[in-house]
């Protein structure tokens, strides 16, 4: 009896693959932006439709001048070099150095810079959107963003993108 109840959801999962993902990138740290990019690109690689919505500090990922210079936070990040005293992690230049090392390690794994990663996503049919409210707040215009952006949209527009069955919204 127990066995049959266990099997049912597994089978259901197989029969209903994810069709579309709508990924919200709300943070501007190197690691959070990459998490959102890997999820979007990974979806496309599986034949899943992908939309990305950049909001608040996540907007740096689609700003021409900033996207390839993101930092990973070394202070307030307990998982980053756990033996390292916070005072040292906060020294001038430390964060830039750590971020540089991180980007170098990623390149070895064939993880591209943010700009190229977004190009790959667009080439795979992924769609990129900026958040209107956050753009207004940071006083950013369309020309501050990369050309590949589909549009600057409201939260309501974002939900409209998520319409349809088997869609997942992922918040990063």
């Amino acid at each position: 009896m127990e066995v049959s109840t266990m099997e049912a959801p597994i089978k259901a999962k197989k029969d209903l693959p994810v069709k579309k993902v709508c990924i919200i990138c709300s943070k501007g740290n190197l690691q959070d932006v990459y998490a959102a990019l890997v999820l979007a690109n990974g979806a496309l690689m599986e034949g899943i439709e992908a939309n990305m919505f950049f909001t608040f500090f996540g907007l740096v990922a689609i700003q021409k001048e900033k996207q390839d210079h993101l930092h990973t936070s070394t202070v307030g990040n307990p998982a980053f070099m756990d033996k390292l005293p916070t005072m040292v992690a906060g020294l001038p230049g430390f964060e830039a150095f750590a971020s540089h090392m991180m980007r170098k390690e990623m390149e070895k794994l064939d993880i591209p810079p943010v700009s190229e990663f977004l190009e790959m996503i667009v080439a795979g049919g992924g769609k990129l959107y900026g958040c209107k409210l956050a753009s207004d707040m940071f006083k950013l215009d369309r020309e501050d963003f990369i050309d590949d952006i589909e549009d600057i949209i409201t939260v309501g527009d974002f939900y409209a993108l998520a319409e349809g069955e088997r869609t997942h919204i992922i918040f990063v």
Binding site: N41, M45, M120
Partner: protein, 103 residues
Amino acid sequence: MPNRVLAGQSVEVNDEGYFTDPTQWSENIASELATEAGINLGPKHLDVIKFLRDRYMTGQALTIRRVGKSGLVSIKEFYDLFPGGPLKVSSKIAGIPKPASCV
């Protein structure tokens, strides 16, 4: 491991249909696998497939980015040539294991 007959030859595949022995592959087999995937195999497809096989045979990682930098096709063309997950679909047709790649 299940066996299946492709282009008149018996080949060993895993449960998902990927080859377990890439040396059993041939272009005739590729053509049959492509038809199954709804693809009419052309010279561009074969260029990519041969590139993937070369890289796999020499123990190099397979990623969409590498295919895009191969000079053979752009990433957009790669998606257009093998709809529904380019790296997976092309690897299956190329007779190599499913790439364990997140990029």
